[in-house]
Symmetry: C2
Subunit: 325 residues, 2 copies
C-alpha cells in the first residue's frame, strides 16, 4: 500500500456527496475537508465542512482537490483559481469549450507546479476514451454514441421554462432498433430522430392548458423538434416519488472493417443506477492518478487521453501485470 492520499472536495451537491461516498470505498484515500459556499454549519454531513473562503489555509494539507461544481458558472472560475493552489481533478463537460478551458488551466497549473486533470467522468471521460480507442484500432469504420436511458438536465430545464409548467423531468432514451442495427455491423446512417426518443414527465400549474404545453414542448427547436417526444402529465407527488433517482448510461460503438471486409464491433456501455455517484467514482480514480503524476514531478493540465490506466489503480505495476493482464 502506498501513502494515504489526502483529498478535499469543493462543492457539496449530488456530485460532491458522491465523491464523499466514493472516498470511503478506497482505502488508500482520506477525506480532509469539504469546502462549501454555504454556511458550513448549516450543512449536515458526516465530515467536517469548511467555508470556501478558508481554502488557502489547507495548502500542504491536501494532496488532491476534487472540484464538484457545475461547468456553466462554477468551474470556469474555480478551476483556474484553485489550480494555482492545489493539484485538481474536475468534470468540466462543456464539450465545445474544453480546448479553451484546457489552455487556461494548463497555464495556471504549470506556473504553480501543479497537476490538473480536467474533464473526467463518463462523457467527457470514459466515453471519450472509447471513441479514441475505437478509431485508433479500426480506422476504417463509424462511431455511434447512444445516451440513456437517463435524465438530461438541460432538457429538464428547458421543459421547466415553458409557460404553465410547474415542474418536470426529461429522459433521453436510445432506440433499441437503432442500437441493434449498429451492433449488426451494417454501418447505418441514422438521423437524430432514429437514434433517441425523448420522454417528458410534466407537472402543470393550476389551470394550465395541457395540449398547449405538450405542443410547445414537442416543437421546441434544438431541444425537442428533431425528436419523437412523448409528454406525460403527472402530479408533483408522483414526480417526487418516482423520478428522484438519477439513472443514466449509454453505449459507444465502433463498427469497423479489417482485411478483405471482416466486420469488427467494439462496444463500451454503461448502465448506471446513479449518474452522479458513478461520475464521482471516476473523479476519485483520476484523483489517484493526479496524485501519482504530481509525485513524479509532473505539472500542467491533463485529460483522460494523457493518463495510463495503471495510474488509476491502487495496485502496483507488478501486481497489475500479475493479476489483471
Amino acid at each position: 500500500m502506498t501513502n494515504i492520499i489526502k483529498v478535499g472536495i469543493v462543492g457539496y451537491g449530488n456530485l460532491g456527496r458522491g465523491v464523499e461516498s466514493a472516498i470511503r470505498q478506497n482505502q488508500d484515500m482520506e477525506l480532509v475537508a469539504i469546502f462549501t459556499r454555504r454556511n458550513p454549519e448549516s450543512v449536515t454531513a458526516g465530515t467536517r465542512m469548511v467555508a470556501i473562503s478558508e481554502i488557502e489555509s489547507y495548502k500542504g494539507k491536501i494532496d488532491v482537490l476534487i472540484l464538484c461544481g457545475g461547468s456553466a458558472t462554477d468551474l470556469p472560475v474555480q478551476g483556474p483559481e484553485l489550480a494555482k493552489l492545489f493539484h485538481t481533478v474536475d468534470s468540466f463537460d462543456t464539450h465545445a469549450r474544453i480546448p479553451e478551458y484546457f489552455a487556461q488551466i494548463d497555464e495556471v497549473a504549470t506556473a504553480a507546479g501543479n497537476i490538473s486533470v480536467i474533464s473526467t467522468g463518463w462523457d467527457p471521460g470514459l466515453f471519450s476514451l472509447s471513441r479514441l480507442l475505437g478509431e485508433a484500432i479500426l480506422p476504417e469504420g463509424n462511431e455511434y454514441t447512444f445516451w440513456g436511458k437517463g435524465v438530461s438536465q438541460g432538457h429538464s430545464d428547458a421543459i421547466r421554462r415553458v409557460q404553465g409548467v410547474k415542474n418536470g423531468i426529461q429522459y433521453t432514451i436510445p432506440r433499441e432498433e437503432a442500437v441493434d442495427l449498429v451492433r449488426s455491423g451494417s454501418n447505418p446512417e441514422l438521423t437524430t430522430r432514429q437514434k433517441h426518443l425523448r420522454e417528458c414527465y410534466v407537472v402543470l400549474e393550476d389551470g394550465a392548458n395541457r395540449e398547449a404545453v405538450a405542443e410547445e414542448i414537442r416543437n421546441m427547436p434544438n431541444y425537442f423538434a428533431d425528436y419523437d417526444t412523448v409528454v406525460n402529465f403527472i402530479s408533483e407527488d408522483t414526480l417526487r416519488a418516482e423520478h428522484g433517482t438519477m439513472p443514466h448510461g449509454g453505449n459507444v460503438i465502433r463498427s469497423g472493417i479489417t482485411g478483405t471486409g471482416n466486420k469488427q464491433i467494439v462496444e463500451f456501455s454503461l448502465k448506471l443506477g446513479s449518474n452522479p455517484e458513478f461520475t464521482a467514482s471516476v473523479l476519485v480514480a483520476y484523483a489517484r492518478a493526479a496524485y501519482r503524476l504530481a509525485q513524479a514531478g509532473q505539472q500542467g493540465a491533463r485529460t483522460v487521453f494523457d493518463i495510463p490506466f495503471g495510474l488509476l489503480s491502487p495496485k502496483s505495476p507488478e501486481e497489475l501485470r500479475k493479476a489483471l493482464l
Copy 2:
C-alpha cells in the same frame, strides 16, 4: 501529420498477414519488410519478404518491429533477441508467464535503449484494460469475463489428439442466460459450466467409433469435463467450407455498487469477424505508441497499462481534445 512510421513484421501466419493489412489502413505507417523463417521466395505476398537471418541489417531502417510469432515457442526466444535490436510490439499471451517475460524483455530493452510493448491484443490487452478500469472505478464489485463465440486453438488441438479424430474445431460459447444475469447487476456466483458452453465439430477417421470419440472428448479433464460439451460430426469438406473464418469476441463486465447501494454496470464487448485481424489492428495501434515513446527517449518494457490512449491515435493531443473529448 507526423513522420511516416517504418514498420517491420516478423512471422507471416494469420497474425502477420493481419498486420500487413492493418498497416495499409493507417496512412502514417509504411511496411518495410516481412521477415520469415521460410525461404522468402516461396512466400507469395504483396510486399517484399526477407529471410529472418538478414534482420540485423535492417537496424536503422525500421522504427518498430511487430512480432507475430506464437507465445509457446516463438516469442520466448524472439522477444528478447529482437528487443536488443529494435523497438518491438508483441502479443505474448501466456498469462501465467507474463511477469517473467516482462522482466526479461525489460532488462534487454533497457540495456539496448529500446522500447518493447508486450502482451497487446485483446486478451491480454483491451480486456485487461477493461478489468483494470472496472475495479479502479468500482472497487466494491465483481468482474466477469465471457469469451466467444469463437474458436479456441488449445481446445481444437485437444480434440485433434483424440484417437479416431482426423480433424476438428472447437467453439467457446458464452451462455446468454449467464451474461444477462450479470448485466442485471445481481452479482451471481457462476460455475465454469454456467458461464460457457463448448461446441465441437469433428471429422472422424474412417472406421472410427462415433460414440467412443464423443465420450472421450466430453470427459477430457481440464478441457471439457467441467463444461456442457456438444460434439457434432461433419465431413472434411464441411469443415473447410463452414469453419474457415475466425470469429471471436467476448465481454468484460464490472458489476459494482456505489453510495447506499446503487448498481453500476460497466461493460466492454467485442464482436470480431476475424480474431487475428483484430489482434493485428491492436498491435499496429500500439506500434504507433511504441514509436512515440521511443521518440520521447523512453526505454524498457511496457504493457497496455503503462500507455496513455492518446499515443495510440495519429491525431495530435489538440485535435483529440477538440474532436473526441
